[in-house]
């Protein structure tokens, strides 16, 4: 299967024949790819060179590859999907609601906005305490607070939807 793989502004065409053969931008390579005992740690041998990386699903349809301390955000789409996207514009747009989900379990120290508040990009929405640190969670864009789902003193689980900005 052929994939179009993008890292920032770099784009590669990668065809995977099987676990031992890939064609990278038209050049065939002998590879050996293994997962380390079911963990998100993977080892890859290419032409005798050994590489090891952590590969995470980024919860957003993409991948994050941590290779020798550097983090690469990687988007992988197959050729057919890539053609479809090219034909119909660049897929989902950045409009709609921003949902602030708890990035970690913790204690809501203070909700600094209420429903209907106008917020600017970078405004602190709430303070979440975890591991004895108070973390200011900021709005990634301007908008109106459409929903507040938590209050001061709440214990929240990871990914709990705390508030939304429209």
């Amino acid at each position: 299967m052929k994939y179009i793989t993008t890292i920032d502004d770099l784009q590669y065409t990668i065809e995977i024949i099987d676990n031992h053969q890939v064609i990278f931008d038209g050049v065939p390579y002998e590879v050996d790819f293994e997962s380390v005992s079911g963990q998100p740690v993977f080892t890859l041998l290419v032409n005798g060179k050994s590489h090891e990386a952590y590969i995470y699903d980024d919860d957003d349809g993409g991948w994050e590859v941590l290779l020798k301390g550097a983090l690469y955000p990687v988007a992988v789409v197959d050729e057919r999907e890539h053609r479809l996207r090219a034909a119909f514009g660049s897929g989902p747009t950045q409009s709609g609601e921003y949902n602030l989900k708890a990035p970690m379990p913790g204690l809501v120290v203070s909700v600094l906005v209420k429903e209907g508040d106008q917020v600017e990009e970078g405004d602190v929405l709430l303070i979440l305490e975890s591991m004895k640190m108070q973390n200011e969670l900021k709005s990634p864009r301007a908008g109106v607070v459409s929903r507040v789902n938590t209050k001061d003193g709440d214990h929240v689980e990871r990914k709990h939807l705390m508030l939304s900005v429209n």
């Binding site: 299967m1 994939y3 793989t5 890292i7 920032d8 770099l10 590669y12 990668i14 995977i16 676990n19 890939v22 990278f24 390579y29 590879v31 790819f33 380390v36 005992s37 963990q39 998100p40 740690v41 993977f42 890859l44 290419v46 590489h51 990386a53 952590y54 590969i55 991948w63 994050e64 590859v65 941590l66 290779l67 020798k68 301390g69 550097a70 983090l71 690469y72 990687v74 992988v76 197959d78 990035p103 970690m104 379990p105 913790g106 120290v109 203070s110 305490e129 975890s130 591991m131 004895k132 640190m133 108070q134 973390n135 990871r158």
Partner: protein, 504 residues
């Protein structure tokens, strides 16, 4: 004289203290919260007792219960570690009143150094230079502080009088932002120490944070074990320390001068046991007393590495009434040590705390590498306690060799299940400014960015692309396989029967 020690702490430091006790032939008693039943310190200790629910206020901060357990288990001494009850003079006093030994300083020394206002007054009376700031030891209101601020001068620091570890601390550039920051500092100080009192201190820019380790016995001997460089901090939390300091380097005169001042500061409060005097050092080598930490420090292993002195064992010997087995002239720093604090914080996501179960862990080892940790594969990193997972310490003959060794060790380090700040440390080890020793306390926050550092690293996007594509491909194949299953020609019931038989 005691033969059994209760360790009133958790995590790596509890394990560290248990190890020292073991080597001295002392029995150990661990205490734990409901979240820590399977923690390493519980597994390593000879005895272990439950304190209460996970929040520290109901477990590790319950001094009354801890003393009760010590008495019940027949422990003769309590080691508080760092954090939690380590710098609470009332706890130390209660321990002594219960007829137990407190492995640490006298309650009066903790109290004198614990209130930063009193500490500043005491040491400056003893002739130790302090950073300019608000004087006196009373509680000042916001209005009073706002009025005093212009005299101190901007930029300044709001600091909690009960503070430590950067909690309740805020930097202020302009008076307009001060009321909001005062509120934030007081809120954090109240939450962390149960005391919202704050004071002001001039923010010395471009300064380094260098501290001196001291040891004092009950016979009046006070020695210093040289310095530690702790300038690499983020939000006033130390991230990486080294000994000696590249700034002090081979300036033995400066080292001895700082050491002598540290000894004087300790003597001004009749200090006993291990303690650390923190200094701010300016580029012209003038230095100011910042505060004294009346406890064992997180970063004590680097001093152990370069001096060969086991600080925790010395603490226990001192508490048993022994004299120090060496004098100042016996203390020599040889070689170079670096410690990286490996925290459950995602350095690629603004150091956001990361919790979860450690699925897989492979720690670095080999020549010159020490790892102090309290976790293991299968252990759950909970949101209740601090984010320190382990301390990675390397030791080598020279600073350059130590940096290369740390790079090697960081690359070996594998931890799956939570995100860590290891990539941050890797970027620091590759940073030219770090290698040249040119950094101050603001380096990480003002002149360092993960994105830029990532870009400057030898990059290999092709390999990252191949690996991500192969993972995505495997996932697509797997989901395609699941879809294809429904196309099988036998009935679902027959298939289910076969499947169940197969898995029986």
């Amino acid at each position: 004289m005691f033969n059994k020690v209760l360790i009133a702490n958790r995590g790596e430091i509890a394990v560290r203290i248990i190890r020292a006790c073991r080597e001295l032939g002392l029995d150990t008693v661990a205490v734990f919260s409901e979240a820590d039943r399977r923690a390493l310190h519980v597994r390593y200790a000879d005895e272990a007792f439950l304190l209460g629910p996970a929040p520290s206020s109901e477990s590790y901060l319950r001094g009354d219960k801890i003393i009760e357990i010590a008495l019940k288990s027949g422990a003769g001494a309590i080691h508080p570690g760092y954090g939690f009850l380590a710098e609470r003079s009332d706890f130390a006093q209660n321990v002594i009143d219960a007829g137990l030994a407190f492995i640490g300083p006298k309650p009066s020394s903790i109290a004198a150094m614990g209130d930063k206002g009193i500490a500043r007054k005491t040491v400056s009376a003893a002739g130790v230079p302090v950073v300019p700031g608000t004087e006196g030891d009373g509680a000042l209101t916001d209005d009073q502080l706002l009025a005093l601020a212009p005299d101190v001068g901007f930029p300044l620091l709001i600091k909690a009088t009960a503070g430590g570890g950067g909690k309740g601390m805020r930097a202020v550039d302009h008076i307009e932002e001060m009321p909001g920051l005062l509120q934030a500092a007081r809120r954090e100080a109240e939450a962390s120490f149960g005391d919202g009192n704050v004071y002001l201190e001039k923010l010395v820019e471009g300064a380094r944070h260098i501290e001196i380790q001291i040891l004092a016995d009950t016979h009046g001997n006070v020695v210093h074990l040289g310095e530690r460089e702790c300038s690499l901090q983020r939000r006033h939390q130390k991230l990486l320390e080294e000994a000696p300091s590249p700034f002090v380097g081979d300036d033995e005169e400066l080292r001895q001068r700082m050491g002598a001042v540290a000894v004087k500061a300790a003597q001004s409060v009749e200090y006993v046991n291990a303690g650390t005097i923190e200094f701010l050092v300016e580029s012209d080598k003038s230095f100011y007393f910042l505060e004294m930490n009346t406890r064992l420090q997180v970063e004590h292993p680097i001093t152990e590495a370069v001096t060969g002195i086991d600080i925790v064992k010395e603490q226990i010997r001192i508490a048993r009434g022994r004299q120090l087995s060496f004098t100042q002239s016996d203390v020599r720093m040889t070689g170079w040590a670096i410690e990286c604090r490996v925290n459950a914080e995602d350095s690629h996501n603004n150091f956001m705390p990361s919790t979860g179960r450690i699925a897989h862990m492979q720690l670095p080892t080999g020549p010159g590498v020490r790892v102090d940790t309290g976790v293991y594969p299968g252990f759950e990193i909970s949101p209740y306690y601090d984010s320190l997972i382990s301390k990675l310490i390397v030791y080598a003959g020279t600073r350059a060799e130590a940096i290369l060794r740390m790079r090697r060790a960081l690359e070996e380090y594998r931890l799956v299940g939570v995100r860590t700040n290891i990539p941050f440390h890797q970027n620091i080890m590759d940073s030219h400014r770090f290698m040249a020793g040119q950094f101050d306390t603001q380096f990480v926050e003002k002149r360092f960015s993960m994105e830029r550092a990532d870009q400057q690293r030898e990059s290999n996007p092709q390999v990252a692309a191949i690996m991500a594509t192969m993972v995505a491909h495997t996932q697509t194949q797997r989901s395609a396989h699941i879809i294809r299953r429904s196309k099988r020609d036998t009935s679902n019931w027959k298939w289910l029967g076969r499947w169940e038989r197969m898995h029986r």
